[in-house]
């Protein structure tokens, strides 16, 4: 079996004593790192499920099938379903322009794409209030035409789009830069149209990177709290996303229900991490296979 062969190969490899520490120190270091991770990472993860199930499964499921919670789940999924594709199209377009062409001001453009990462989520919400709120630039016009953006779903979508704006572009730009332009040029020389080249050559090449970006983007879109909290208005059953529902329940001292809803978000985060790990594993395997074909050592 390939797996056992791999194991024995690594076990029979000579141990380089000069470039590692003594077993005692190694064990101490591993222990210290695990202690830190346990205190700050694994305990919070375990605490969510412990608190959620503390009052029993009945309370847990009652909190999740509560109409307000279900409305929050629907709104959260809907917002992510709008925000993620928008940022996906942007990410692909931006990566195509940046990775496949040379132009003046490229590094400035890349920095601008990163901008939303540097902005506090609260400020991300605030700027949309300044644009579309009743006191904002477009406020009077929106009121006159009876369009609600702030304290309604469009505002939540906009805030979500803002905070998740760089994720997919950030994943695709380095990937497409690394892949170069030869394959696309070859397709064009052989008579493929631009769109054919994109669908048949570029997209299959970037599919794992794209999926990776979409996973990160979705996780953040569903979990965003600060920006959404500023523009949502916290109307129960109407403009409450799952993270806001957690806050409301928590502030009402309904801890079991708050942690029950939080456990849904936690499960989602764990699933996203699992998908992310699988993708990383896939791309590593693909890279090793490519190296093997070219006959290069790792």
């Amino acid at each position: 079996m390939a797996f056992t062969r791999f194991l024995t190969a690594s076990q029979t490899a000579p141990i380089r004593r000069t470039t590692t520490e003594s077993p005692a120190i190694r064990r101490l270091f591993i222990g210290m790192a695990l202690l830190f991770l346990t205190l700050f990472l694994f305990f919070p993860l375990a605490a969510v499920f412990y608190e959620a199930l503390r009052k029993g499964l009945g309370v847990y499921f009652a909190a999740i099938v509560d109409p307000d919670a279900l409305a929050a789940i629907r709104l959260t999924l809907l917002c992510a379903a709008i925000a993620v594709p928008l940022n996906m199209v942007f990410g692909v377009a931006a990566a195509w322009a940046i990775a496949k062409f040379e132009f003046v001001g490229k590094s400035v453009l890349i920095t601008l794409i990163d901008l939303p990462f540097a902005v506090s989520p609260v400020i991300a919400g605030l700027i949309y209030v300044l644009m579309f709120g009743a006191q904002g630039w477009l406020g009077p016009w929106l009121v006159a035409h009876d369009i609600k953006i702030i304290f309604a779903m469009p505002g939540i979508v906009l805030a979500t789009v803002f905070v998740t704006f760089p994720f997919i572009a950030r994943e695709l730009i380095p990937l497409m830069q690394e892949q170069g332009v030869e394959e696309e040029e070859a397709a064009l020389v052989m008579g493929a149209s631009g769109w054919q080249t994109f669908w048949r050559i570029t997209l299959p090449n970037i599919k794992w990177g794209l999926l990776y970006g979409v996973v990160l983007c979705t996780a953040r879109a569903m979990g965003e709290f600060g920006a959404v909290s500023v523009v949502s208005g916290h109307i129960r059953g109407l403009t409450n996303t799952l993270p806001l529902q957690v806050e409301i329940l928590y502030n009402e001292y309904n801890f079991a229900a708050a942690f029950a809803v939080a456990s849904l978000l936690t499960l989602l985060a764990v699933v996203m991490l699992a998908i992310k790990s699988v993708i990383e594993w896939q791309t590593r395997k693909a890279r090793l296979a490519a190296l093997a074909i070219r006959g290069e050592p790792e």
């Binding site: 919070p44 969510v48 195509w96 062409f101 985060a269």
Partner: protein, 277 residues
């Protein structure tokens, strides 16, 4: 060759892709962000200054930047340590732990906030033991540091890890052959190689921490002058319909964030240069 904005290229779609990128970026990011600056430009300098240097606001800066600095420093040392252990040693469950390191990025901040509060409150798993020692974490500034450590933990690990992985073992072997101890090799050979990555991770963690809101508000206690962070102050002012005050403080935070972003870019360019030469 005459100067041109874009070099010749046979690939199609530059105008479409670039046009869409710029349009989308202006609509979603640049125009809304400029709204904050234009709104603040309506204030006189004296008004602006008195808003952003009011005692309560100054206290919130001190708390936000102080707690972020402490959290980023702790995460830099712990992150280096964890990255080292994950790259250099093998132990059972390593792949699972490696995957879980990204949890703070995937977990919604509100969930992190209530989970940490439950743990570090006086009756929590960790808080009850700390209470015996007379240490209160939840609802004090210390709680803010704990929340910021959690949400910014992966940055240093994830920036240092790839650099450690690519480090050539030959250099360390050479150092050992020349009679260096492990500690000397680490300080003189490894540390200089990973310093740019460490600094980048530190700055990313710091930048993320100063803007953090969701996880902190649950654990902080939120007392004005004591445990009120700047993003919370912005929200408080917004809820009181004090748009000018909220925006003025937001502009201060935005300028600091932009400077940090610039610094991160310079650091990454530096580490890239060092890495490739």
């Amino acid at each position: 060759m005459p100067f041109r904005l874009k070099q010749r290229n046979v690939l199609p779609g530059f105008n479409l892709a670039m046009g869409y990128t710029l349009l989308y970026m202006c609509l979603i990011v640049l125009i809304p962000l400029s709204a904050a600056f234009i709104k603040t430009a309506g204030l006189s300098w004296a008004d602006f200054w008195s808003i952003v240097t009011a005692p309560r606001v100054l206290a919130s800066y001190r708390l936000t930047f102080g707690a972020s600095l402490i959290a980023a420093l702790i995460n830099t040392s712990a992150g280096l340590f964890i990255a080292w252990v994950l790259v250099r040693y093998s132990f059972p469950g390593k792949r699972l732990i490696d995957a879980l390191v990204d949890l703070p990025f995937a977990l919604p901040t509100a969930v992190a906030g209530i989970a940490l509060t439950a743990l570090y409150a006086g009756n929590g798993w960790i808080g009850s033991y700390l209470a015996l020692l007379g240490i209160k974490v939840a609802f004090t500034p210390l709680g803010i540091v704990v929340a910021l450590i959690f949400i910014s933990m992966p940055f240093v690990i994830r920036t240092v890890q790839p650099v450690l992985e690519d480090l050539e073992p030959e250099v360390e072997e050479a150092a050992a052959c020349l009679g260096a101890t492990r500690w000397q090799t680490f300080r003189r050979i490894i540390l200089p190689a990973i310093r740019p990555a460490l600094l980048t991770g530190f700055t990313l963690a710091f930048a993320r921490s100063i803007g953090e809101y969701g996880s902190v508000i649950f654990i902080a206690g939120n007392l004005p002058m004591v445990s009120e962070i700047t993003p919370l102050l912005i929200v408080t002012k917004l809820e009181q319909y004090d748009y000018r005050g909220a925006t003025a403080i937001a502009v201060v935070m935005l300028v600091i964030s932009f400077l940090l972003l610039l610094l991160i870019n310079l650091l990454q360019r530096w580490s890239h240069q060092r890495y490739t030469t």
